[in-house]
Amino acid sequence: MASVEFKGIVKKFNDNTVLNGVDVDIKDHEFVVIVGPSGCGKTTLLRMLAGLEDVTGGDILIDGLRVNELHPSKRQIAMVFQDYALYPHMTVEQNMSFALRLRKTDKAEIDARVEEAATILQLKSFLARMPKQLSGGQRQRVAIGRAIVRKPKVFLFDEPLSNLDAKLREEMRVEIAKLYQRLNATIIYVTHDQVEAMTLAGRIVIMNKGIVQQVGSPIEVYRKPANLFVAGFIGSPTMNFMHGKLSLEGDKVMFTSPDIKLSIPPYLLPANKVRDGQEVAVGVRPDDVVVGREAGEKCSDKIEGVLEVCELLGHRENLYIKVGGQRLLATVEAFFDRSPGSGVQLCFNYKNMHVFDKATENRISE
């Protein structure tokens, strides 16, 4: 197993800059998920590590060894592709053993490794089948099996679950988590699905527009998003944002938007960090919006709104509340017994509020 380092990686397709100075350190045995919207360069980064794309600038190191010009097969990596890329004219067994056969590995050794991988992935009864005779989930497992038999230093997963339906995706997610515990390997996993990122990752790398936005454990990026992009990308449903200005009233920090006025507690944002009139965005996750009688009892800054729509999810309920021109989403325990159109009181859970500077988009609250 091995560590991976990206040092100032730049990638250009002609004049089009896809990656602009990516620095990430991945430790041995780590499960790192690279997540971002489509077109953010995450797959390109993975393909560069695999050796399928040239490096325009910067260095890629595997186990301290610079691999920029090394042929993909020499990098001791294995990759699981989004469309699986199983050779359609070979059986499952031939697919899994292809790399070993090319390397002229001993026949007994090949059989042993294929057997081992097939046992781990419960593929033993499918070894003689063709890929087209398998279901999506089975193909996915074969693609993973093909990676396992090579005993690589690093596993690369390129959006492996995006071609599966929702239920199967959940199952495979658990399978991959179990596999990681079992193999204890270095895994780099690319996805655009933040749920996969949150559930699988030891560390998350969030990318946008070819730049790394934040690197951290799932709970870090959820609790303390570094900037507006991360705050909006991580978490489902999406965080509520209110745009307005900060003002200093004595040693109290006040936030004012056209529709909402509230005080920001000093443990969240001390007055000395604030300019008077600073333009900011305040973010609150739907779970931290307190609505109804609870809001009336607990909070000092109450906000009056009108309930627009209720969405019942089962044990939770999404409430879309209009405060002037601002729409806020609150997720509360079911059942919230009010009909759309009625007025509701709400307030925010201050501890989990986030304040971002409007100009730099960076987090300024604690």
């Binding site: 097969s73 890329a85 292809f98």
Partner: protein, 395 residues
């Protein structure tokens, strides 16, 4: 005023065709629509054979009672089929299909049936007048088929020699078509400059009318003024040692006619294979190559384990077609060698067949010969298609 006359002729022709199609549609419409009326049979039997007799009797040159009985029986059979089998179902699709269907029947089925008829009789220069006068031909059973295998269709070459030559010709041509097409397709599948230009240039031999292409190439093989011999002469002048290796200008058309034909036909056939294979190559997902790169396959290994197996399903029908076309290729051989005083050294089965029919006037013999060739090709195609199905199973 010549042009006006031509236009008039064309207009008449179009009118005639439309009338024919109209009559055809009317005929079928009647059978589809009124099959369950009481007067369906009587009306059909009274009108249709008489009409047919009026039209076809004119064409065939006589209104005999016998002919009328034939038409009556045919109409009775057709009307019964429409009444008890078709029963007015699928009227619109069949009405739309009818013109094409009847056209195909006239152009394919009738000649084929007539050919089978001919092959069991004896039509040749000495019996043709008898046929014209009496409409009868001596029945000879399978004599013609025996003759196909025992006598020469030309003056000296036997059927078996021709068959061997044809198989060799077909194999050589198809082999080089596929090899050349594959090589060019691989080159064109790369990201190279002027790709479109190259592709267009390479497809030209295919897009040109074959007669023009073949005659132009035939000129290039002329012993004195042809491009090939000029190049060979210059080469031997520049590098005299080549002469010792036996390389030098040769009399292509008279000494090596089959080689010349083969070279020309290879040149003609490569573009088609190239286009088909290029299409196949472009349909292979690049992720297979990515996976193979990571698995450590070299360029040749990728070619062998990925490219070739994955274009096989596209190749099989193309190779089948190519085989049939080459096997049946009379254009190249006839145009290169077949003019007056031509040689027999380059003849393959179909060109010999052509000569047997239209130079030696052995019509019945040629009919039997053609059916033998047809059977051969049928067998080859079926074998290929089985292979194609097997290849499809693999994917």
């Amino acid at each position: 005023m010549e042009i006006l006359k031509s236009i008039q002729e064309v207009v008449w022709f179009i009118l005639l065709i439309s009338l024919g199609v109209g009559a055809l549609e009317g005929y079928f419409y009647y059978h589809f629509q009124y099959y369950d009326r009481k007067w369906f049979f009587p009306a059909a039997l009274a009108v249709m054979p008489a009409l047919a007799l009026a039209v076809f009797g004119q064409l065939l040159g006589g209104y005999t009672f016998q002919l009328w009985v034939y038409f009556l029986l045919a109409e009775a059979a057709i009307a019964a089929a429409f009444r008890y089998l078709v029963q007015g179902r699928h009227t619109v699709p069949y009405l739309l299909l009818a013109p094409a269907f009847v056209g195909l029947a006239l152009l394919l089925v009738y000649p084929f049936v007539f050919e089978i008829y001919l092959s069991f009789h004896d039509l040749k220069l000495t019996t043709i007048m008898m046929w014209k006068n009496t409409g009868r031909l001596p029945f000879v059973g399978i004599d013609q088929y025996i003759k196909v295998f025992t006598t020469s269709p030309l003056s000296e070459v036997s059927f078996w020699a021709l068959l061997g030559r044809t198989l060799l010709w077909t194999f050589t041509n198809v082999f080089f078509h596929v090899a050349g097409g594959f090589a060019l397709a691989l080159l064109l599948n790369n990201n190279i400059r002027w790709k479109g230009v190259y592709r267009t240039l390479l497809v030209i031999p295919w897009a040109m009318p074959q007669v023009v292409a073949v005659l132009a190439m035939r000129g290039e093989f002329h012993s004195q003024n042809g491009f090939v011999n000029i190049v060979l002469t210059k080469l031997t002048e520049a590098m005299p040692f080549l002469t010792q290796l036996g390389i030098g200008p040769v009399q292509w058309l008279s000494d090596y006619p089959l080689v010349t034909c083969t070279l020309i036909n290879i040149w003609l056939g490569i573009p088609f294979m190239m286009v088909v294979i290029l299409g196949g190559l472009q349909s292979i997902s690049s992720s297979y190559y990515d996976a193979a790169d990571i698995d450590g396959a070299s360029y040749l290994q990728k070619l062998r384990f990925i490219t070739v197996p994955l274009i096989r399903p596209v190749m099989m029908p193309a190779v089948t077609l190519g085989t049939v076309w080459t096997f049946n290729n009379i254009n190249v051989i006839y145009l290169v060698t077949g003019q007056s005083g031509g040689t027999e050294q380059a003849d393959i089965l179909v060109s010999a067949l052509y000569k047997a029919a239209f130079t030696y006037n052995r019509y019945s013999y040629s009919a039997a010969f053609a059916i033998v060739v047809f059977a051969l090709l049928f067998f080859i195609s079926v074998t290929y298609l089985h292979g194609f199905d097997a290849a499809k199973e693999d994917r």
